[in-house]
Symmetry: C2
Subunit: 241 residues, 2 copies
């Protein structure tokens, strides 16, 4: 509702903006830098100069600067007054903060979806189950990346069906911040079947039009995932991700 999300492709190449659409240079710079941060082309802690990025993207400093402002508002970088653009690193404490936000948002979203009128509710439950099926398949096949992608799709669908643009935006920003951490910790995950079972419980509550159960299921799922991951991060001594 608030604003259109023009670029949804997760893997845009860094230097090439193949989109022949009517996009502004600022949008191009924003998308390119965001993608570069996501796939760690820009490593956390790296300090880039706007001039250098502008040169690499084949544009002037102005659009890069304005894109950096947007990225800073998204919490991905920090513009240091006269030092350059710093790619932010995530500390375990940041992951704690992030999990609190998604615990709150996923819970409310599940509650809302469970309170939807029948046709939409069932459609949502069906979509969620489809994603969970994909997770189960990936788990059986030992395809961890596919599992992670299906897991992300499940949670994205949950938020999307809550039909709340502000919640979507918030969750997307949070996901951008934690994307690298999720990629890194994917192979540390143990309780994959627990996640699948919990997803089933959420979808079941939604199908049964039980908002209280849906809220609790979504919350407990995120809380358990957090309690599984945070100790791992600390024990591995990962100061920044």
């Amino acid at each position: 509702m608030t604003r259109a999300q023009p670029s949804k492709d997760p893997d845009a190449r860094t230097g090439a903006n193949a989109g022949e659409k009517r996009t502004s240079l600022v949008d191009d710079a924003y998308a390119a830098m965001r993608a570069a941060i996501r796939n760690a082309s820009f490593a956390p802690g790296y300090q880039a100069s706007e001039q250098e990025i502008a040169l690499r993207l084949g544009m002037s400093r102005t659009p890069v600067h304005e894109a950096a402002i947007r990225l800073q508002e998204d919490g991905l970088v920090r513009v240091l007054p006269r030092k350059g653009i710093l790619i932010l690193a995530l500390a375990p404490d940041d992951m704690r903060e992030i999990y609190d936000v998604v615990i709150a948002m996923d819970g409310r979203a599940a509650e809302l979806v469970a309170a939807l009128p029948e046709p939409e509710r069932l459609a949502a439950a069906q979509a969620l189950d489809a994603h969970t099926d994909a997770m189960a398949d990936a788990h059986a096949g030992g395809d961890l990346p596919a599992w992670g992608q299906a897991d992300g799709a499940f949670h994205a669908a949950l938020i999307e069906h809550a039909r709340n643009g502000r919640m979507s935006r918030i969750v997307q920003a949070i996901n951008d911040q934690s994307h690298r951490a999720r990629m890194l910790t994917l192979n540390l995950r143990r309780a994959l079947d627990a996640s699948i079972a919990e997803h089933r419980r959420i979808a079941r509550a939604i199908r049964a039009a039980d908002p209280v159960e849906a809220l609790d299921a979504a919350r407990q799922h995120r809380i358990r995932a957090r309690d599984e991951l945070l100790p791992l991060l600390n024990s591995y001594g990962l100061k920044h991700l």
Copy 2:
């Protein structure tokens, strides 16, 4: 954690930047425009040109343009590609979205505060009760603006004691968006004592270290407030705030 919030004064004059601090022009423009939107100097639906605002603030178009980007990211304005800066209006549906977010965030925050170690928990409960006392005083004295301010302080303190910078930022952005609506609907509110009693219940749960009760108390409080306000908005036919 993410970033320092330099200007916290809520009523900065539009043209005068009295702060002799080391602020950039972009920050000045951001603060001035944000304040102007808050106190409705810039009415919703008003379409300003960057040139005009720059002239009024005594600076060039560049800092105004970059501040507009930040305000757009905050959901306060929309930069129309070659038409100017549009001050966004809030529809009742936006208020529904906003309430869903605060229901989720306040609930989680209350739960977190109730799980804090004893000294901080009691300090938080005491601070919350102090704000509720101020609400009761204002209610007794018939001072509606004071009541609204104390109510805002209560919820701000609740979030603050949860010690989560991302939650604070999200709630602050949401509050900025809904500030005008809150001001307008202040004199429509009826159940002022209900709010006070519910605040007491939240503080009591926190003092008793009962996260489950605190979560439910905070959620029910926000849900009731929403159910009180949204019908009023619709019945008054307020299409945009």
